[in-house]
Symmetry: C2
Subunit: 147 residues, 2 copies
DNA sequence: CGCTATTTGCAACCTTGTTGCAAATAGCGG
DNA sequence: CCGCTATTTGCAACAAGGTTGCAAATAGCG
């Protein structure tokens, strides 16, 4: 979720944003939010832990802070290709409509820019939150085509 | 992977297919293959374990059988939205064109009949094997709509 | 400054997945 | 049909990632 221009990443402003969702602006939350604001890519729990300096924040507290960020809508959580949870600031990119190509050879995922698929009809009672076109096959490299 | 007409799912034929890749046709492998053949959707390790009856097959053996199936090309492995590994028979279903709906509430997956999205342009050297439209949101039950 | 609900840290625990090794066995040749 | 050996299985132990309960610390109110 590359969103390189967060609204404001000063500690004071972050504290403000935290209080805005009705919670206490604690050092732990501010520091984690600062990190996420500065990160060009989604961070894993481990990334955050080591960026803060191991032991500087309890492992469990970090899990709770990250989950709280997601629950309060300040961050979003998604699994990467290696099934590691990664967190990034919310709001940034609704991510528009785009497709993923998954290579069955090397397992890498490529993002393709392409028009959104037309929203399909759903059974009654179902609500749609997200739609993704997932393609799979073999990438150029796995097909032996040089980059 | 709803492919309801697997090449052949009789135990004898599955044993044949296992020997064809140069390995021993053991009960564990045959039973797991049978399950995957019959499954309309990719199964998790846990799904298989409980379908076989807990304890009927050692936990570790099942991990090994599943990984062996993937290594030998009989099955494919992929992570679902909840980061759970799911296994399905390889090759079997070109799967036609249809979409999956993933409920973010209960985690269930529903198959929707719908026309295939038009095949998008791929970068040079890439080959397309499969295309799936993956929708997510909340199912009727999780929305409180009675069946 | 004092109070209380919210957060934190800790210790223990669960789940998922892996490793090493001894016992069982598929499938070969006789 | 029988024995043999490489392959599989089951077990026990371990490791990473994640969760829970509870007592101690503290943000932010008046």
């Amino acid at each position: 979720m590359p969103e390189h221009i967060p609204p404001s990443s000063s500690a004071a402003n972050l504290a403000e944003r935290i209080r805005a969702v009705g919670a206490r602006a604690t050092p732990a939350r501010i520091r984690v939010l600062e990190l996420l604001s500065a990160a060009p890519l989604p961070l894993s729990h481990h990334d955050v832990e080591s960026a803060l300096g191991a032991g500087s924040l309890d492992r469990v507290t970090l899990y709770r802070v990250l989950d709280w960020l997601v629950a309060s809508g300040l961050a979003v959580k998604g699994a990467d290709e290696r099934r590691v949870w990664r967190f990034s600031l919310a709001g940034g990119g609704t991510h528009g409509s785009h497709a993923h190509f998954h290579c069955e050879g090397c397992g890498r995922v490529f993002c393709l820019d392409m028009p959104a698929p037309s929203p399909p009809p759903l059974p009654g009672g179902f609500t749609l939150l997200r739609a993704a076109l997932d393609l799979s096959g073999r990438c150029a490299q796995c097909n032996g085509v040089p980059a």
